[in-house]
Every structure is written in structure tokens, then in C-alpha cells.
Symmetry: C2
Subunit: 196 residues, 2 copies
């Protein structure tokens, strides 16, 4: 693995464990097994690393979801519901392995680091756009007259997932997050089903 990727992976792990401010460049270097000189060869400062980490995290998520089995589902409604099933199944193990870098960073940087805030926003919306495409297709096929907008619904799915992470972390139990996504799935199912 190249030095830059090692640094980005270390940043992902550390920031998801203890947040952006508590994570130091020294720790990132130690965790990555990389010298500080090497760090500053790749990044002018911690903020620049955080911006690259947001892109890195998002690219990883793109990869993961692009190759997920649910993507092969031809029915768009099933695709949406199986997406939520996958997010629910991912609520397990160690928190830094499955929680969201973007939602974590934005909580503590949205005022003090506008560039990080904007990067988190862009990447959350980039992921929501994929969900919105499936939602738009499912809406057109099953509930064309439903009162909601696919983009707004897609953003809501991301809010529910982010909030599920928070409740799970607070209770120190990933299953609390999984249960939240059962509710999200039920909402989507009712909204994508024509009333009798």
C-alpha cells in the first residue's frame, strides 16, 4: 500500500474512533507507520488530510455499494429496500469500522472548518444521489402520485442512518442502530407501496 493510502486509512480509523480534533498528526503517522516528513510531503496540514480522507472514504463507499448484490436487482423498489437491508447488516462489529467519517467530522467542524463541512456535505449528497436515482425509478413505477420527492427521501435515508450511528454509539451497541434501520425500511416500504 502506498504511503498516502496508509495515511488516509489511519485517518479514517482514528477520526472515526475519537473525532477530528482529538486526532493528532503524530498519531496518524504512528498508526500509519509513516514519518512526519512523509506526512507533510503529502499534506500541508491536518485539514488537508481530512479533506482527502472525506474523498477517500466516499470512494471506498462507492466501490462497496457499486459491487453490492442488491445493485443487480432489476426491481427498483427491491433495490431501495435491499440497500437499507445492507446498511442494517453493516451495523455490527467495531464502531470505527462501520460508522461514517463524514457524519462524525461535520458535528465538530461545521463552524470552525468550513472546508471540511463542505466536503462532508458534498460526499453525503453524492451517496444520497445514488439512493435518489433508485427512489425516483421506484416512485415512477409504483407510486407516481406520492407526495414526496425522491431527493428529499434519499436525504432522509442518510439522516436516519447517521442518527442510527449516534444512538448505537451512545448505547455502545450496534444493534440499536440496526433496529433504527428496521423503522427506516418500514417507512420506505409503506411509501413505495400503492394504497389498496
Amino acid at each position: 500500500m502506498d504511503t498516502k493510502t496508509k495515511l488516509l486509512d489511519a485517518a479514517l480509523r482514528l477520526i472515526r474512533t475519537k473525532g477530528y480534533t482529538a486526532t493528532t498528526v503524530d498519531e496518524i503517522c504512528r498508526d500509519a507507520g509513516v514519518s512526519k516528513g512523509s506526512f507533510f510531503h503529502h499534506f500541508p496540514d491536518k485539514e488537508a488530510l481530512a479533506l482527502a480522507a472525506a474523498k477517500h472514504f466516499s470512494a471506498r463507499a462507492d466501490e462497496l455499494f457499486a459491487s453490492a448484490p442488491y445493485r443487480a436487482e432489476s426491481d427498483p423498489r427491491a433495490r431501495v429496500l435491499r440497500y437499507v437491508d445492507q446498511r442494517r447488516a453493516m451495523m455490527r462489529g467495531d464502531f470505527p469500522d462501520f460508522t461514517c467519517l463524514l457524519g462524525t467530522m461535520v458535528q465538530e467542524t461545521y463552524v470552525t472548518h468550513p472546508a471540511i463541512r463542505a466536503a462532508c456535505d458534498a460526499e453525503i449528497r453524492h451517496h444520497a444521489d445514488d439512493v435518489a436515482r433508485d427512489l425516483a425509478e421506484a416512485k415512477a413505477r409504483y407510486v407516481p402520485d406520492a407526495p414526496w420527492d425522491p431527493q428529499s427521501m434519499a436525504l432522509y435515508t442518510q439522516a436516519a442512518i447517521q442518527g442510527a450511528f449516534i444512538l448505537a454509539k451512545a448505547h455502545d451497541d450496534p444493534s440499536v442502530g440496526a433496529e433504527c434501520l428496521t423503522h427506516l425500511r418500514r417507512y420506505l416500504e409503506t411509501q413505495l407501496t400503492p394504497s389498496a
Copy 2:
């Protein structure tokens, strides 16, 4: 206002602006207009202040919601829906004035400060319990056979609200959070309405 309350209010404001780690005891003292000696008279350290701030925040929320107009509503389903309406109406103005201290702190402290994590969990659940009571009453009256548990549904409302804060902060626009709560309200409405 007494010194302790000034310190707690300053902590609420600062932590909701830039997070727990980035907020220093010096800044809290400056913001509160209180000497450092006075701080350490009341609190042994920043963590102790954070624990007290979690309780303080929660007591303020109790006050706010106990006296809210929706509490006078005799129909429990209307009480639940008007609770969400109130949470949605509160999504406006400056983020540190309406976002959640608990959800913000837990993101960056859940591993490094177990006592803060536990306090955030306890206070989030304390608030959810009020919602769960109304949900249980509404379920018993309107949808006794619904497959969901009121406690689980109440926790989900809190997850949706926490996630709404994150998306709103990321987009630097409280209305993004308000729109998320429109979805939460629609979910609750469908789940509290007997099928025809």
C-alpha cells in the same frame, strides 16, 4: 445567574459550536465571564463539566417540552405528531441554539470518555421515554396490533432528529433538518393510523 449555571450555559454554547475536544476550559471561563479558580471550585476538570452539562441540557429540554402546548393535547396520537411538529419548528436559527449537546458530544467521546458516552445515552433515553409513553398510549388506542414496539419507535424518533441535525449542519441550512422531520412525521402518521 449563579456561577455554575453560567459555566454550564457557556459549555452548552461552545460544545455545540465546535465539539467537546476543541472546547477548552479557558474558553468556557472567558465565555462565562468567570475566573479559572471559580471553574475549578465547581468542577474538577472538563469531563466533570461535560457530565454536568449533559444533565443541565436535559433538564432544560424537560422544562421546554413539559410546558409545550402539545402536552395539553388529550389525543395521544395528536400529541406524538405535534411533538414532531415542534421539533421541526425548532430547526431554525443558529445551530448552537437548537442542536443537541448529547448527539454532538457522543460522536467524538464514545471511545475515549466512557462516562460522557454513558451520560449522553442516559439523557437521550430519558427524553425518548417521554415520547415512548405517548406512543404506547397512541398505539393502544389506534393500532394495538401494529408490529412495532413503542420504545423502539421512540428511539427511532431520536435517531431521525439526530441525523436531521447532521444533514442540516453539513448543508449549513436548518431547513434540511426540518424536511427530514417531515418524513419522520409521515412515518409516524402511517404507523399510528389503522389500515382501512
